[in-house]
Amino acid sequence: MPQSKIIDISVGLFLLAGFIAFVVLALKISGLTSESWQNTYSVYARFENIGGLKTRSKVTIGGVTIGKVSDIQFDKERYQAIVTLDVFEDIDNLTTDTSAAILTAGLLGEKYIGLTPGADDTFLESGDIIEDTQSALILEEFIGRFLFKAVQKRNDSGNSSANNTSNANIDENN
């Protein structure tokens, strides 16, 4: 085979390798699926404390991703955080009494928002506000409160694991 043919072919393979790398980066590594391009609508939620929540954090129901956090603002009057949730368009049946909680994946993992639908028969629309919210669990605060209660109630079943405690916290507020 002449030299120039070899060069042409290897350059072709090189460009192809680049294209494959691009596809791998998109599909396998960033997990881009057709879902990621879905249209979304925005609802808002106020939180006393968002902990380590960031834009791009996941929004889930029952552990399944249904959107992401697109913006976090501070409400100067109420001293609260206003979080914008971009929810996939086909999830159009979030009840108006849906509650939002900032949860943690694992003990030190990423913060994300978990939604729990309620029982209303009206649904949230773009621009609506979720009233029932549950701030992030701040570990230090929680331990402080827990110790205080433990002393008060002389209740000492205090060997719960991290996951238990966060569940306990949610239960307590519900």
């Binding site: 060069i7 090189f14 390798a17 980066l25 590594i29 960033s30 003990l107």
Partner: protein, 263 residues
Amino acid sequence: MNNFLMQLNQFRNNITESLAAIGRAALLLIQSLWFIPDSKKIISLLIKQIYQEGVLSLLIIVLSGLFIGMVIGLEGYNVLSGFGSESALGQMIALSILRELGPVVAALLFAGRAGSALTAEIGHMKTTEQLASMEMMGVDPLRRIIAPRLLAGFISLPILTMIFSVVGIWGGYLVGVRWLGVYEGSFWSNMQASVEFGEDVFNGIIKSLVFGFIVTWIAVFQGYDSKPTSLGISNATTKTVVFSSLAILAMDFILTALMFGDH
């Protein structure tokens, strides 16, 4: 006092010379890209240059990517397992490679492998009057020699960077999942959950485009502007590697601040 004045004068000359060099470099860029040779010719010239700059750099890029990914896999595992969060290994490997290590290391290797070769080649052409004789044939070396080399560099580095990143992440996977036993499902799912295509992958590619532009520009200019002697060529080659490396690191800081600075 006299000595001080001499130094001051020297300093002023250095600054003037640097400014003049920047001016010449800008002129070179404009003149070579203004009129690119006609499309049929540029394709065959480009293919040859992509072979020189891209294909021939592939081996070093793949090997370095593999080792760097493996090292991050190992180090990352050691750090993360201390917190019991080995499952975040995939995310750590992918983000560090996609955002920083991939674009930067690939560009540094590219400057050392392809950039220095470009400078030496063009410097040699100048020293042996090949550029001058081409000019006398009515063929503009800026278009015939410089332009395809610039374009090939702009194209090659982003491709090399993407290949570097994929191989690097695969290296991390080999060490983390295959060797150290991180659970495969959480390795990938954590990675996919945290890697955002638009933000991380795309910004990495933008970085590599910028680096490719800078490195080839510096390399080609240093060759074209070199003194037509052996020492001149060797100085120019050194300058290419040093200036490109510094420019890559400085631009990386600026780009990172612009892209990821707000969170």
